[in-house]
Amino acid sequence: MQTILSVATDAFAYGMVLFIISIGLSMTMGLMRVVNLAHGAFAMIGGYIASYVARDLGWGYAPAIVLAVAGTILLCAPLERFLYRRIYGKPELLQVLLTIGITFCVIGITNYFFGPTLKTIPLPSVLAQPVDIGFRTLAGHRIFVIACGIAVAAALWFLIERTAFGIKLRATVDNAAMTDALGVRTPTIYAVAFSIAVGLAAFGGVIGAEFLPVEPYYALRYMVLFLVVVTVGGAGSILGTVVACLALGAIDTVGRYLMPEFGNFFFYAAVIAIVSAFPRGFFGRAQ
């Protein structure tokens, strides 16, 4: 029973990390129709900034998160303006290549400046300790991650369903040309949505560093994971991404606990089965 609870907590927390990072990717792919393989690179930039602030400067965890998110958004805004804007609506292959190119550049440049070592982000003592929740104790960091995941999901839901910006965003997704004709500045909508996606990637990269360690090839290694989550969930769907993250997080974590010698084997087998059965993902819309 103890084991089941701790496996479940781990799976849930892992799923939430996947969610926070992938929901940004899901937005980019659902809204701008860009297959963005550089999303993992954004998370990696966030992780490197946080590690620098928290470990090398010693400013603490909270400033690290804030600076990582703000810094990554600032660094990546020019990318949207000068590179991504040119590939909206282009064939998928070109998008894949451009974003892989960006990923390679990010890996090369970060390692030039920070060296090819694993970067740790020290947790504050509050999160490093186990927390007593009455009938048993859980790792504080896991609870923090789960809370963050739920908060992000709720905030995004509110933003998209209940605000004026959300209305414009949904209108742009449905018909960009018509929305533009009605006077909505769609380039601005794109830029803001892209920044939100980048910020979420950086946020997830920082708080998820316990699950997905920040290392030189982070951007390539986990990019596949995020892409898989979005495909399984269906691009552009918050609910789909949540379901996909929880399902894949559970499959991966349980697989590792029960049969550690098979590693990712079950994960990818499950992915092939799911994508074959639901080619548009769980909650994807018809193209």
């Binding site: 998928e92 390679f104 030039y112 084997f265 992915v271 994508v275």
Partner: protein, 337 residues
């Protein structure tokens, strides 16, 4: 790439014509380049053989991506299948004849292509891309976990290949392996020239341009594409077997996402939908990689990344599109007369 789709019949008219002179010039260029490599870099023949093996992989990817329009980030599955099959046959099966090993690799690659095509062709767009990644990762995990057969992360070592035709031994300097690889490349290239200019190859191009229209004309899309996947798998399998024979070891990296992604980069660098482009891309990419990454692997990544961005923004046709300006060598795109 997305020009107004001409009727496949008109494409057939322009492709049906064979260009024996142009083909001969192309073969002469490949053989000359190969011979030049042999005499100019006698100390780097292992690298040159590796380039040939990877060039076969890029050619196979070109068949699927350039001619059928199916973007794949998992092409190394077929390469790895060929390499491991040749490795098994040699280490566990006791087959040492190099040509037989290449045949084994081709068959295993074709089988992998059949499975991969059957899975990937069910989906479209992003889902297709993710399926290809999932398949190569699954293969990678499988090769890693069944380490009693595959050697896991240490690689499958100990291939002892008997002399070619019983005469030419695979020497320490890799001379035999290189020449063997070069001949394989030329033969495969000649076969592929035939395949892509046959009615079947033209139908594939038609499907790439407009699958709905081809279907409306009465041709069935799925079996044609699957057939191309099988051919592509056989080519990649030959490449894998060549890599296994020449290095006498099969590593986990032969069935990896990284190799697949690199192959795609090489193909686009050289030029999609052109067999020469695939060769040019492989040679340039691997040549630069060898030079620059010896200095610092991360500089190499930055450079490739910048190059990719530049190619996408400036020359989406790849380097081979520059060849179009040379009379007698250029490829014909679409239905232009």
């Amino acid at each position: 790439m997305t020009q107004s789709a001409p009727l496949p019949a008109t494409v057939a008219a322009s492709f049906g014509k064979r260009h024996p002179l142009r083909d001969l010039a192309g073969f002469a260029a490949i053989i000359l380049a190969g011979a030049a490599g042999y005499f100019l870099f006698p100390d780097n023949l292992a690298l040159l053989t590796r380039i040939i093996a990877v060039a076969l992989l890029v050619l196979s990817l070109d068949l699927v991506t350039g001619y059928c329009g199916v973007a794949s980030l998992g092409q190394a599955t077929m390469f790895g299948a060929g390499a491991y099959a040749a490795g098994f046959a040699c280490v566990h099966g006791g087959v040492t004849e190099p040509l037989t090993l290449v045949l084994v690799g081709a068959i295993a690659g074709a089988a992998a292509g059949l499975v991969m095509g059957a899975i990937m062709l069910r989906a479209h767009g992003l889902a297709q891309l993710v399926l290809s990644i999932a398949i190569v990762q699954l293969g990678h995990e499988a090769a890693n976990k069944f380490s009693s057969y595959t050697g896991g992360s240490d690689g499958l070592a100990g291939l002892s290949v008997s002399p070619l035709f019983g005469v030419f031994e695979f020497d320490l300097w890799g001379r035999t392996a290189y020449l063997f690889g070069l001949v394989l490349l030329v033969v495969v290239f000649a076969l592929l020239r035939f395949v892509v200019s046959s009615p079947f190859g033209v139908l594939c191009r038609g499907i790439r341009q407009d699958p709905v229209r081809v279907k409306a004309m009465g041709a069935s899309v799925f079996p044609v594409m699957l057939k191309m996947f099988v051919i592509s798998g056989a080519v990649a399998g030959v490449g894998g077997a060549l890599a296994a024979i020449s290095t006498q070891v099969v590593g986990l990296d032969s069935i990896s996402f990284e190799l697949s992604a690199n192959a795609l980069v090489m193909l686009v660098l050289g030029g999609l939908g052109s067999l020469y482009g695939a060769l040019i891309g492989a040679v340039i990419f691997m040549g630069f990689e060898h030079t620059v990454s010896a200095y610092n692997p991360f500089h190499w990544l930055t450079m490739v990344g910048a190059l990719l961005v530049a190619v996408v923004l400036v020359a989406p046709g790849g380097l081979a599109s520059l060849l179009d300006k040379v009379p007698g060598l250029g490829r014909r795109e679409g239905g232009k007369p």
